[in-house]
Symmetry: C2
Subunit: 115 residues, 2 copies
């Protein structure tokens, strides 16, 4: 069974629009996809390194995600293992602000929980 990889301009999992943003969301809305991009932002990593940084990801899924991300031009295989492409790097710059936001969000969530 081959993995369905979202292609630009093509419908994705039921979305008949094929809107690029929905294609992207479909890709990133798979387990560990965001985490992989995030982890690779600090530089190339071997398969095993990624595996231990993405805590509980199974090699099966890691490999599947890496395949998908490679086919979509976000990740590539280099000398030192897997790394972000120029595009992947650009994507990361848009993801990065979420790091800071998530902290304030998490803080707010905690306060609410403590009430």
């Amino acid at each position: 069974m081959s993995v369905k990889i979202p292609k630009a301009g093509e419908p994705v999992r039921g979305s008949t629009s094929g809107k690029p943003i929905m294609v992207l969301f479909d890709l990133l809305g798979r387990r560990w996809a965001l985490g992989i991009v995030w982890n690779l932002s600090t530089g190339p990593q071997t398969f095993r390194a990624l595996q231990s940084n993405c805590a509980s990801v199974s090699p099966t899924v890691l490999n599947t995600r890496l395949k998908e991300l490679r086919e979509c031009g976000i990740v590539m295989k280099g000398e030192n293992g897997y790394e972000l492409t120029a595009e992947g790097d650009e994507l990361f710059t848009y993801l990065q602000p979420l790091g800071h936001w998530s902290q304030t969000w998490s803080h707010a969530a905690k306060l609410k929980e403590d009430q």
Copy 2:
């Protein structure tokens, strides 16, 4: 069976760190979560409206996602259906640039495919 909802500061699905960004990624890395936030950014929507905007989402999953997003303070129920909270709105402002980026990305992917 209750849905495990990521809580700030708590470990998530095997990630023992509980880093906020990983908590957020765990939440957003579930099917349709990103799409729901995106769709709600234009204003409140009824359950059924959301359902038809998120093409193939099943009511089961839509309801599960909405519950999760509500518990995490990103979505709330208002007079006119579901809508983003102030925090959700803020999250969206960080997501928004991805809309434009996804278009150039999709374009690049197409060119590559055509070679």
